[in-house]
């Protein structure tokens, strides 16, 4: 099989990828930056740098997923349009969904986990810094494997849920589905490791005095999210592995022949898939809790009920998966159970919404960018939640199932919840990551365009769904009465696209013109990350803080005033730091080689990758990695450069 593509769109993408790669290689070589890239980034185990790499990947993937969305909206703008053919349309909705959930939302969250959690709980790093690097590089190479599919052999085209029997070898003989299976498998291993890593970090590495009930709400939300990751992701691992066995080894788990049962895949997939949406939304709740408290200059209202509802949601998330296929035809009893369980999720969520509102009540509200996104989230998410309860009504779902009503619903909760949440977090913690603030004016333009665009894009889709338009149709005849609403929706999508571009422009403009953050506490924050200089030195805390209550940093400021940030020079002790390592990168590269080999059923290549993985594991196991000590002299130099001594 020749790998050189024949279709113009694929050829153009391939040429673009090659040109960009050559450009990157040339730039790095010209500025002699290869060594810098290897030492400072590829081998780093610093949670803040790993977080920034996750963030860059998430934004790139948001762009790619967004382009996919716009291509679909162009195709649907007019009836009988021939902009994309059916095959391309199938590939694009598949990659759009998969990328947005697994290669955009997940790394965006992990960026926030990494950058914020150790700083909030007063730790110098995560529990397992080396494993953290492994997680990132597994994600990175998984994403790379997924993204090259479009130009090398064909993208997956069976939807982001990848249901058999369509995704079985009989009906999808190309490499596309294998790309999907292996790239998700590889990045999924990384996600499980991240879940374990941050749960141990939160349980074991909090600063002295920070009991669980004094922990900032974002860290609580990460804890809840990690619990769900740990108990949900293995189901995805199993679903993907069994389907891979069907395709590569020739077993019959989900085939139509020899006793296979495709519904088993759907169960396994959604036993992961539904908790997955809570994995991505819970940290967004955490971000909103931090933002609403800081920008209302008040303690978070109802802290305990916030914690209880987070944990309730994380448990209940396992009891609702069947609502994704009420139409499978289970008994009325089964469907009723899952319908009621799904509706019940609205209760703890409602508790949270009221707590946010009461936090703002009589607060001194500042309408900075993080707070704007927070405010936009509440009505958007409330409405999305309400349509969710409609979908949870099992008999009605027979009408809504797989219609544009569903599409509008989950975009409303995922964009209105996760994307707004991550953008609020991005704006909120940006100065902490990079040492400068993002200019407000461009950001406000972006905010309004994105929000208005969102409603223009998705409100018509609710109507289209009720009018009978089903998801994943690549064209429709003109007599259906859908034309106008589809055109409006497409216009909305483009307005959102402009909003995204303005965010990029805002970032680029702010790199030169943004206000430098010299205090480390630009928002008058309440939690420990704001006690540190921006950007944070690689050892985080010179001295591990003593925590005396919730909103630890706020209390320190009340107690000590301007003295709160300074450290007596004599009290500085040597700090133990973990060593950098190239092994996480190399091992993940070996995973990539093995995955690529399996995609094309080249077992020799896959074996080479497998042996590479084994060698890296053994090298690590036999390594005596004791880290190194950072001398007080070096720490004094860094601290005094920040004006902290």
């Amino acid at each position: 099989m020749s790998l050189w593509p024949t279709e113009p769109m694929v050829q153009a993408s391939l040429v673009a990828i090659i040109l960009v790669s050559i450009g990157i290689i040339f730039t790095l070589t010209y500025f002699k930056k290869w060594g810098w890239l290897w030492r400072e980034w590829i081998t780093t185990v610093d949670h803040k740098k790993i977080g920034i790499m996750y963030l860059i990947c998430a934004l790139l993937m948001l762009f790619r997923g967004g382009v996919d969305a716009l291509l679909m909206r162009i195709q649907l703008a007019f009836p009988d349009l021939q902009f994309l053919d059916a095959q391309h349309y199938n590939e694009i909705f598949t990659t759009h969904g998969t990328i947005m959930i697994l290669f955009m939302a997940m790394p965006f969250l992990f960026a926030m986990f990494n950058i914020v959690v150790p700083l909030q709980i007063g730790a110098r790093d995560v529990a397992f810094p080396y494993l953290n690097a492994v997680s990132f590089w597994l994600f990175f190479f998984g994403a790379l494997l997924f993204n090259i599919s479009f130009v090398l052999g064909g993208a997956p085209d069976a939807g982001w849920v990848n249901y058999p029997p369509l995704s079985e070898l009989t009906f999808s003989p190309g490499p596309g589905i294998d790309y999907y299976l292996l790239s998700l498998q590889i990045s999924g291993i990384g996600s499980i490791a991240t879940g374990i890593n941050f749960l141990v970090t939160i349980l074991k590495m909090r600063a002295p005095g920070m009991s669980m009930m004094r922990m900032p709400m974002f860290s609580w939300s990460v804890l809840a999210s990690c619990i769900v990751i740990i108990f949900a992701f293995p189901a995805l691992t199993a679903a993907l592995a069994l389907l891979s066995l069907d395709r590569i080894v020739g077993t019959h788990f989900f085939t139509m022949l020899h006793g296979g049962n495709p519904m088993m895949y759907m169960n396994l997939f959604w036993i992961w898939g539904h908790p997955e949406v809570y994995i991505v939304i819970l940290p967004a709740y955490g971000v909103f809790s931090e933002v609403v408290s800081t920008f209302s200059k008040k303690r978070l209202f109802g802290y305990k009920s916030m914690v209880a509802s987070l944990l309730l949601i994380s448990v209940a998330s396992y009891l609702v998966w069947v609502h994704h296929f009420f139409t499978m035809g289970s008994s009325a009893g089964v469907n009723s159970f899952f319908a009621v369980a799904s509706m019940a999720i609205a209760i703890p969520t409602g508790v949270k919404v009221f707590n946010w509102l009461f936090t703002m009540f009589r607060g001194r509200i500042r309408l900075s960018l993080p707070m704007l996104w927070m405010l936009a989230f509440i009505p958007t998410f409330a409405l999305g939640g309400a349509t969710g309860v409609m979908l949870a009504v099992a008999p009605a779902d027979y009408q809504f199932h797989n219609s544009y009503f569903l599409i509008a619903h989950f975009h409303q909760v995922l964009i209105g919840g996760v994307v707004y949440g991550m953008l609020a977090g991005l704006y909120y913690w940006w100065p902490k990551m990079f040492g400068f603030q993002l200019v407000e004016k461009l950001g406000k333009w972006a905010f309004w365009l994105f929000n208005i665009g969102f409603y223009v894009c998705f409100m018509p889709q609710y109507a289209l769904g009720l009018m009978g338009m089903t998801r994943r149709m690549y064209e429709y005849p003109s007599g259906m009465g859908w034309n106008g609403l589809n055109q409006v929706s497409t216009v909305g999508a483009f307005i959102m696209g402009i909003g995204f571009l303005l965010i990029v422009a805002q970032i680029l403009y702010s790199i030169r013109h943004g206000k430098r953050d010299t205090t480390g506490d630009p928002w008058n924050g309440r939690t420990l990350e704001w006690s540190l200089p921006s950007p944070v030195p690689h050892y985080n805390f010179v001295r591990i803080p003593e925590v005396k209550g919730r909103d630890a940093w706020w209390m320190m400021k009340q107690e000590k005033g301007d003295e709160a940030t300074s450290t007596p020079s004599s009290s500085i002790q040597p700090i133990h730091m973990p060593n950098s390592s190239g092994l996480p990168f190399l091992m993940s590269l070996a995973f990539f080689v093995a995955g690529f080999g399996l995609v094309f059923h080249q077992f020799a290549l896959a074996a080479v990758g497998g042996i590479g993985i084994g060698i890296c594991l053994f090298l690590r196991s036999l390594e005596q990695d004791e880290g190194y000590m950072l001398s007080p002299k070096e720490i004094r130099r860094i601290e005094s450069a920040q004006g902290r001594l």
Partner: protein, 208 residues
């Protein structure tokens, strides 16, 4: 830095906790328990799939007719014993006895190898009788469930060999003690999973 026998015992007595439970060790051990939780969910999914598909034989070989309880009982005895000897290894480690620790680990590895040997023989026999993974959904589920456990055991053997190499090089110290202890946890976990495989697959298969 290897510690002599009396130093291990003294260090443990002074800190009032085993060597592997220093601050770093506690983190690793908790992390590994969480990993075991994920592995448990993975096995739970495979068990569920097996239960759903076990009757889907498509007119091919029926599992209950294939099973030979003799070999499986031998496997069970070997693995349960190996869990015991793995425990003895950790017991010797706590006493600071490096030779005892390595000796029992080697013994555990041998029992593991014997277990894998019988399992491979069983699989080869099944395939010889036409009961391949590709024949029916029930067989796909059987080979995948039992095979995944077998792969775990094989990985555990390689892992323990790596731990033995490190113990020979560095002796008993907090890091190697932690590694030996965690490898032991993994081994006990596989033993527990096997108890479920033995009851849910083989015993229920023969009785059912």
């Amino acid at each position: 830095m290897a510690l002599a026998q009396h130093e291990v015992v003294r260090a443990q007595t002074e800190a009032n906790r085993p060597l592997e439970y220093d601050e770093d060790g506690q983190r690793h051990i908790l992390g590994f328990w969480l990993f075991l939780a994920t592995d448990l969910v993975l096995f739970a999914c495979l068990f569920a799939t097996y239960q759903v598909l076990v009757t889907h034989t498509d007119g091919g070989p029926v599992l209950s007719e294939l099973f030979e309880l003799g070999g499986v009982t031998a496997e069970t005895i070997l693995l349960l014993t190996s869990s015991f000897t793995g425990g003895l290894a950790i017991y010797e480690m706590r006493r600071g006895n490096l030779r005892g620790l390595i000796g029992w680990l080697v013994f555990t590895v041998m029992l593991g190898l014997a277990f894998i040997g019988i399992e491979v023989y069983e699989f080869v026999t099944f395939v010889g009788e036409g009961a391949t993974m590709q024949r029916s959904a029930a067989l796909s589920a059987f080979f995948t469930l039992v095979g995944t456990h077998g792969l775990h055991v094989s990985f555990g053997i390689l892992w323990m060999i790596s731990v033995i190499v490190q113990l020979l090089r560095f002796g008993i110290q907090p890091v190697t003690a932690r590694k030996a202890f965690i490898a032991g946890l993994y081994w006990h976990f596989l033993d527990v999973v096997w108890v479920f495989v033995f009851s849910a697959v083989y015993l229920m298969g023969v009785l059912g």
